[in-house]
Amino acid sequence: MLLDKTGNAAADEWRHLADDEPTPESEAVSVSLKRWEKEHNALKGAGSRLGLRLPNTANPVALNGEVHRFALIALEFPRFNDGRAYSQARLLRSRLRYQGELRATGNVLRDQLLFMRRAGFDSFAVDGARALAEDWAKAFGEFDVFYQPSSDNRPWVMRQRFPTA
């Protein structure tokens, strides 16, 4: 199941292609970084909306201007306590100004959702049964005080204290 940035269930229009699957004409499809690097030119010409799946060891800054080609970038949490994708998300949103959908995939759990949202993720591939049973949507509203400026552009305490300074 997919959650949007407020925690509501959302439809997933994306097909995530394996590296040896043919590219369909009309659908929105995501490809791995490996495939993107290999089939760069062919994929650029494809009419479908393109998404990119980045392993958490990749440096998103290396994509530079290319990131804006993608309507979706999916980052991975192989385990919920492997936090590398948080830095990738921050770099994509705040350094590269990536505006498309940024999706958290892998071992995505309730108690990390707000961290992910703040780091710039706006969609979350989760275990639907659990998400509904445990009301995961509530996790997004557990705090309204934040001590850091981050990629969700919510106000942070030091600024709120001195809005005009």
Partner: protein, 550 residues
């Protein structure tokens, strides 16, 4: 002292509500223990050998009287009537029930306290010089910077799932290092540059554990305004490149030494330089407002106190000894910084009963502007005491079993909880500390400054690597053995101690330490301290003595 404003209070309330929900979900079976573990750890809750242990954060070791009273309340209501002050200037309780932890955190929140990030793979408590703000040898009070880092590091959206824990210490003293800054993942010294501007010298990659390293200089001078942006750059490099395949290789010190400091510096500086619109700007007004909260209390005109104190110490030898060992020079005339020893020989180092905490809270209110500090040596400090009040204070402390005049001496031992409590330990630490403390107390005045540090396992929570004499517990076929290191130091002359040779059985530790000390006393020149004698003469005379009667 820093007081919480509406934002801080709301944040803490939200945190308690969130944690209460997490515990309820765990108890209802909705969360697996594996999923719950990092959540409880991020609130300071460990599972130890016999029970849960709760570690409560004492940011940069500064407490108010009201806060200390609440710590006493927690000890009395939720634990067995005592708490244990730690080498991270925190306190921990060893007999906690999981179901009660949300209520404990709610009680603590009433006095602006919590257990946030006292464990887990994120920023740990920011520590500093326990004499911050009252010692004459500092450039400015480092605690506003500790508080700024504390706030910025609380539930950080990018750095809450680092490869491993991350410890930061800040010191502003120009001669002495009382904060063990070089033993930290990231250390900050406030320094003045050639232009007279105050900023930070940044060290990185220090740490103890099974691979001890002293921090290396990452940046010679960092302007204050860039502090948080630069920390963000350093942490981003660590978050992306620190090892996650092996918990014992995951601290930043391993990354620093794998890449080399030059390469790591290149990466951090490149990341810092790449920040443009995403560079964190710390509003100057916010810094100013936080600094203002640490303004010194109004000091009374205490002329005449020095003469009075001189008469009293001349008249009473025991009092004179306590003044000599347990008080330090204060920047305000007629005032003293008072250390309260939590190391009465024969007792577990760092333990404090609820009654003692309440007494110290009262004494602080009467005599020290309601302020208390915790030291990384596991003692407490009253930072602003008029010298005319010292004699009465000493009497009342002595009556409560808190009058030990042993600060910095042989019985002022650092020890981890060891196998009496800890699930990681290989051997007990506390009984060794108890025996050594009792045995050495009689001659510690003659020995002079001596730092004995004991860890119950290689994780080195008792800082044995940097003890003048370090003692590390090992398990040898089910028996407790102790490996001895010598020549370590955790101050401005920081050094990692060297292993003296094969480990000795528990019963042989006191004799071995006696012989090391005898050798030092025999060979020392003048005022030379133990590590200096060791550095001058090397290992051989000590090794010879250590294994002489084996």
């Amino acid at each position: 002292m820093y007081r919480y404003d509406e934002f801080d209070l709301r944040f803490l309330d939200e945190r308690v509500v969130q944690y209460r929900g997490q515990v309820a979900r765990r108890l209802a079976g909705q969360l697996t223990e594996e999923e719950f573990r990092p959540l409880r750890l991020m609130n300071g809750l460990y599972l130890q050998l016999h029970a849960y242990m709760l570690r409560v954060s004492i940011p940069y070791g500064t407490l108010s009287s009201d806060q200390l009273r609440m710590l006493a309340h927690v000890a009395r209501v939720y634990d067995k009537g005592y708490g244990h002050f730690t080498t991270r200037q925190n306190i921990q309780y060893n007999w906690i029930k999981l179901e009660e932890t949300p209520d404990i955190l709610a009680d603590l929140a009433k006095v602006e306290m919590h257990g946030i990030q006292t464990s887990g793979n994120s920023f740990r408590n920011i520590t500093t010089d326990p004499f911050a703000g009252v010692t004459a040898d500092e450039i400015e009070d480092p605690r506003p910077w500790c508080e700024i880092i504390r706030q910025w590091s609380a539930l950080h959206p990018e750095f809450s799932f680092l490869p491993r824990k991350f410890k930061i210490a800040v010191s502003a003293a120009q001669e002495h290092d009382r904060a063990a800054v070089k033993m930290h993942d990231l250390g900050l010294y406030l320094r003045r540059n050639a232009e007279g501007e105050v900023g930070f010298r940044v060290l990185i990659g220090g740490g103890l554990g099974r691979t001890p390293y002293l921090g290396l200089v990452l940046r010679e001078f960092l302007p204050k305004r860039d502090l948080l942006a630069y920390l963000e750059a350093a942490l981003r490099v660590y978050n992306q490149h620190g090892r996650r395949d092996n918990i014992f290789k995951a601290r930043i010190k391993i990354l620093v030494h794998a890449l080399g400091i030059e390469k790591l510096r290149g990466e951090v500086e490149a990341e810092f330089a790449a920040m443009t619109t995403d560079k964190l700007e710390l509003p100057e007004a916010a810094v100013y407002a936080i600094a203002k909260q640490f303004a010194p209390p109004p000091y009374a005109d205490s002329s005449g106190d020095d003469a009075l104190l001189e008469r009293l110490t001349a008249a009473e030898k025991l009092f004179a000894r306590w003044v000599r060992n347990n008080t330090h020079a204060h920047k305000a005339p007629g005032y003293a910084i008072v250390s309260i020893s939590l190391k009465p020989p024969g007792r577990p180092p760092g333990d404090c009963s609820a009654g003692q905490m309440e007494l110290i809270a009262d004494l602080a209110e009467e005599l020290s502007h309601a302020e208390i500090r915790v030291t990384h040596e596991q003692n407490l400090v009253l930072p602003h005491v008029r010298k005319r009040a010292l004699h009465g204070l000493w009497l009342r402390l002595t009556e409560a079993g808190l009058g030990s005049a042993n600060i910095g001496l042989a019985s002022d031992i650092i020890a981890c909880p060891g196998l009496d409590y800890c699930g990681l330990a290989n051997a007990r630490s506390i009984p060794i500390a108890q025996v050594l403390g009792e045995r050495l107390a009689a001659r510690e005045e003659a020995i002079g400054p001596l730092a004995i540090k004991i860890s119950g396992c290689i994780n080195a929570c008792g800082h044995h690597h940097v003890g003048h004499i370090g003692i590390l517990g090992l398990d040898k076929n089910g028996e407790e053995f102790y490996q001895i290191t010598i020549g370590g130091s955790d101050d401005e002359h920081a050094a990692i101690g060297a292993i003296a040779g094969p480990a000795v059985a528990a019963k042989d530790v006191p004799g071995a330490v006696d012989r090391l000390i005898d050798t030092y006393l025999h060979l020392r020149r003048g005022e030379e301290r133990f590590p200096e004698t060791y550095r001058r003469l090397g290992m051989s005379p000590f090794k010879e003595a250590l294994y002489a009667a084996g």
